[in-house]
Amino acid sequence: MAALETIGLTVRMDDYVALEELNLTVNEGSFVAVVGPNGAGKSTLLKAILGLLPLADGEIHVFGQPADKARPGSVGYVPQFKTLDRAFPAVTCELVASGLRQSWPAVMRRREHERVLEALSLVGAAHLCHRPLGWLSGGELQRVYLARAIIRKPRLLLLDEPVTGIDMLGEDDMYSLLESYLTQREVTVLMVTHDWLAARHHATHALLLNRRLIAYGPPEQTLCDSCLRELFGHVGHTHHLAPEQRDA
């Protein structure tokens, strides 16, 4: 079954067309890196799937269901820009538990606390459990958000630049952690990234987007000269690609 299917997906912001006629099928278990220049509609795609932006046209199906009818908890999300109010009086475990309950926990039950700790441990952040949100660094908050996204064991995980704010070592950790999570669970990932090396190394598929679909397929085929030329209009961005890809 397709984990995600978009049919003629169009998203407009007033007169600006952010996504146009996007037809895409992502199979279950894929790890898709969504790449494209700034303003290409990458985050817009994730937000449209989540219902955060209205569709001008088209349809989105998640595991065969219309996206707005998808089972609660079946989609996890780590946003690029955290809308979290850092001054909100809360500790980390409460934020993670909110992902489990879809509500703010007044009192946390023992079983819930165990699941929160399990999710935090998976992202290497168990030690942050009782830390106030305002004390977390950008990288720590990123891990905590990932814990919140995976706590309900989603089948589709949407990550919008998940390594933003994380140092180089942390980036490696984050990708290892994602890979290890993917091997443990049957989960489909859509990850918006500007890091093509990471896309090549970690993703099973690359989706090249520039307000419309440029290419979709295995990274070794899609991150090639001609596709990138179409994506950016020139090939200055391809200097870090392997020679065989530059020639492809």
Partner: protein
Amino acid sequence: MLEALAYAFMQRALLAGVLLSLVSGYYGVFVVQRGLSFLGSGLAHAAFGGVALALLLHREPLWIAVPFTVVVALLISWVRDRTRLAGDVVIGIFFALAMALGIVFLSRVPTYTSDAFTYLFGSILSVTPGDLAAAALLLVLALASLPLWGRWAYATADREAALADRLPVVRDDYLLAVLLTVTIVVSVKVVGIVLMSAFLVIPAASARLLSRSFLPMSVLSILLSLLTAVTGLLASYALDLPSGSAIILTEGAVFIFCLVLTATAARRLPALFAAKPRSPSAAADSRRP
């Protein structure tokens, strides 16, 4: 001081103070955490338009001011949601329009309208049995909305996450705005339009200073609101002060006390109000650096 309780007007004022402080302490945490204190002020001033209209029509102010202010609140929310204007701009526009309408209405009232000043500055003498019934109804509504506390808190902490979870955030916002509006309109008689925003905000802000989690903040806000309203009303009687000023000055004193307490005992207080670990592993975890 206790002889004050023998008077029916004082009993009504205290009962109204207790009921309204419980409700405003409860909603106040959302006002503070969502940065809506200007909305509180704007709606209180918008209520003036409704009161003035009621005086012009020779009707009971509450029954005109409540729907009038609810309409203003819904218009603020609607315009804010559908335009690119910042919330404070929209509030500023509607608050001024409602005030201007109120002044026009008052200018058409042929007799002297001391009632208008009662609403502007608050008076313990003016609480009627009808006001008490309205305050009691507000408390019942607040209790009925308790199941929504978690959803409201979730959307307050992270609105986009709540929307991404497909929770009815916009509907909840409108509901909260209406409940908040009715609370403000009913409270202005005791506290006064000018000081209403502070009545909502100061107990919650004081509670925020002492709390690391939202539930303790909510409980503390309600308790502080209750304590300061009762103390302020008694001080109002004893010192012959306007009730609104007496309550707000008491709340201000508590806020300064909390501020000093937080500054001097910052190392010990967080432990008092933090969310407690529920399992041995969590307790061990919390001790890690």
